[in-house]
Amino acid sequence: MSVLDNPPPRPRPVYLNLVAIRLPIAGIASILHRVSGAALFLFALPLMLLAVQASLASPESFAALKAAFAHPLAKLTAIGVVWACLHHFCAGIRYLLIDLHVGDDLAPAQRSGAMVIAVSLALTLIVGLRLW
């Protein structure tokens, strides 16, 4: 067996300048899946629990919660949470389909990656407009 059959591992070039790196569209959908997931854990989860608690406590607290959405800051927060939910949901469905070998070639995967970004932004816009 020659050494060529089993070459010693060479250090691979690593280039991780996050400012200069150019992600393909599916890569953007992927990192947004992570970003939205982190946001859901950090912000949306406790906020949702607070909201569900207030919504169930009494008719008054239900009404107060509804009234709280009049504040622009609450609207902005809600829109952020809605986007995170939608993107994470759509990107997750895409991964489940890719696991089932639906659209797992390069071209369809790039198209569906772009679609995930566009659909969640469009739906967020619709919800946002209705909220405002």
Binding site: L45, P46, Q53, F62, G92, D99
Partner: protein, 118 residues
């Protein structure tokens, strides 16, 4: 001889987490579709409908299962983030413990909301 030490904060179960992430995702998606369906079917949700829904034992259980799926899913996902970006094992372990404590607290909070009513 050099051997990589098993990390205290490593994943250990790759394929199991992969499967858990997908099963919990499907559970959450199903619950979400039902909630949206209820809202659309009734043209929105007012207090009496919302209260009646959460008075139903089966719905409480479904909500609790949803919450278990969510916390398990969040655990796998958040731990992946710590493992990717936080290299010092001590810091990573501390963050993982904090994550677990938060998720445990959220489960307790959910139980208070669902079964702690007056």
């Amino acid at each position: 001889m050099t051997r990589a030490l098993r990390q205290a904060a490593g994943a250990h179960y790759g394929w199991r987490d992969w499967l858990v992430q997908r099963v919990t995702a499907v559970v959450m998606a199903a619950y979400t579709v039902v909630v949206l369906g209820v809202a659309l079917w009734n043209g929105g949700i007012d207090y009496p409908l919302w209260k009646a829904l959460f008075a139903c034992g089966a719905w409480k259980l479904a909500t609790f299962v949803f919450m278990l799926a969510l916390t398990w899913h969040a655990w796998v996902g958040v731990r992946d983030i710590w493992m990717d970006y936080v290299k010092p094992v001590g810091v990573r372990l501390a963050l993982e413990v904090l994550t677990l404590l938060a998720l445990a607290a959220y489960i307790g909070w959910t139980m208070q909301i669902l079964w702690g009513g007056k």
